[in-house]
């Protein structure tokens, strides 16, 4: 029996736009277990990013309940969420969002610094080898291709040994070849290390390679497909 990592019931996020209430996420029930590899799919504005923000503890929920590693986060204040994220959740973004003035390895070291973890050179080198970037340690982001930058971002997320990984359109800015390469890294990490991965993507070809695909529309789950079935 797998342990649940994330458990959401009636999870709702409402934004106020002018006088209008927008239900970005609307009453979602979801359970994600340790070792799951889940792809969130759906059209733009369907609520994928908002759902990832909520389960990534980047934003407060409006109503419903949300448990992350068994902890009820629905009542945790925004400024306390950082303690939950730090060292427990790894983030990967479409725009890579590396610090441009820092080299590849420094970007990763910084995340260790923020997570209050030791910066062990040997482990970092192994990590860079794992993402296939052992030769680009001391390059600045501007000197790297999109695929390479995303690998650095993956290394940054993995360095702190997170309990799960959140990737929002990680291949959105990459060509087909690089997209598959990056996706293969995710698959490998999930398979070899059993790391839980929740990934949003527009690409059905990639999405279908996940264990489970969750389709969203207008903030609601419209179907859940289990690839193993």
């Amino acid at each position: 029996m797998k342990k649940p990592v994330i458990k959401a019931e009636g999870l709702t996020k409402i934004y106020i736009r002018g006088t209008e209430e927008v239900y970005a996420v609307n009453g979602i029930n979801l359970e994600i277990n340790d070792g799951d590899f889940i792809a969130l799919m759906g059209p733009s504005g369907s609520g994928k990013t908002t759902l990832l923000d909520l389960i990534g503890c980047l934003d407060n929920i409006s109503s419903g309940s949300l448990e992350v590693f068994g902890k009820d986060v629905s009542k945790v204040k925004e400024n306390k969420l950082v303690g939950l994220r730090r060292g427990h959740i790894g983030f990967i973004f479409q725009e890579f969002l590396l610090i441009p003035s820092l080299t590849a390895i420094e970007n990763v070291e910084l995340s260790l610094y923020f997570a209050r973890r030791p910066q062990e050179r040997k482990k970092l080198l192994q990590l860079f080898d794992k993402v296939g970037l052992g030769h680009r340690l001391n390059h600045l982001p501007k000197e790297m291709s999109g695929g390479e930058r995303q690998r650095v971002a993956i290394a940054r997320a993995l360095a702190v040994s997170p309990k799960f990984l959140i990737a929002d359109e990680p291949t959105g800015n990459l060509d087909t070849r690089s997209s598959q390469d990056i996706f293969d890294i995710f698959k490998k990490i999930n398979k070899d290390e059993g790391l839980t991965i929740i990934l949003a993507t527009h690409n059905p070809k990639l999405g279908s390679q996940a264990d489970r695909v969750i389709y969203l529309k207008d903030g609601r789950i419209i179907s859940k497909e289990d690839a193993s079935l």
Binding site: D59, F93, L97, S101, L102, E106, Y113, F114
Partner: protein, 394 residues
Amino acid sequence: MNLFSVALKNLTRKKVRTALTIGGVAIAIAVLVSLWGFDTGYQKSLNNDIDKMGYQILVTAKGCPYEAATLMLQGGGGLRYMNEAVYQKITGDPRIDKITPQLVATAYDTTKQEGRGGISLYMGIEGSYLTLKPWSKFKSGKWFSSTDANEAIMGYEVAEYEQRAVGDKIFIPGRNEVLTVAGIFERNGTQDDGIIFLPLKTAQKIFEVPDKLTGIGIKLKDMRELSKFEEDLYNEPGIQVISLAQVKGTILNLVSSAKAMTNSVALIAVIIAVIGVVNTILMSVFERTSEIGVMKAIGASRLDIFKIIWVETTLICIFGGILGNVIALVGGKTIEYILKQVLPYAPKGHLVVITPHILALSFFGAVIMGFIAGIYPAFRASSMKPIEAIRKGE
């Protein structure tokens, strides 16, 4: 990797912008250091000038005290005359330790300053002059051969300037008199370096003011007698008593009003520099919104972000402070030259004295400036919500 390295590397991203901001701080600090240096240097030089006069009181003919003060510092007396009888009268006063009569005269020398002309200063003195100034030593030659000899003793600088040696003949412009150089004083760092001394009687004869003096320098046995002594002399007609403490006060008063003005300019420079720093850092914070968001997403606390931005601001101000000190040290001579041209009375010696104390203080000031300038941008950055920051930056 730590916050300090992150801050330092961030500053190198926009090199020109960082350099300009550092330059702004440097100019403000340089102005501050120069002003403090001037404050210290001027007072020190003025004290030195006045202490090296050897006397505490100068008796002169009645006239404008400001004019008297300035002229006295430039040569030992106002160019108004009093009768030598005054000297004879007060010289026996038992409260007096040392006393010396002086006659200051000027002549316009058309050959001075490469043909542009200038004033030559002459002073008639007696042997008692040296007892008041025991530090006056002869570089060469000796004292006048008699009390009415047609001889001169030259101050160090004027002798250097005119390339004179003992035995040379010198000519007083417009007076048709030739004097023989009997001696040359060593440099003593006061106005005496620029004066040509004559025996009192010779000076009275050449400048056609027999039995006249421009001043009497007095040193009392006991300084506590000063006010009583001054009071007694007020009763003498046609003379005024100037104590050097008063002169010092008068000059410092004149300077302090100018100082208030320059201090305000320095303050404005500092304020502008602070605004410049705040503006630059704020701009860079807004440009890095998504970066700050991602740092918060991956675990940076509010304090971490605050520290990064604060360190960046403080580093700018520290670099500015160091550069400003260097500029002030290197440019001090130029500022001194300008001040000497502008000031009504500039003492001998260095006008701008930049002490380690001033350098340390201004550096400390720059650090404080950084602390203050950094608060708002650091607060803005640390208050950003990670999710909004990431989305805004995308």
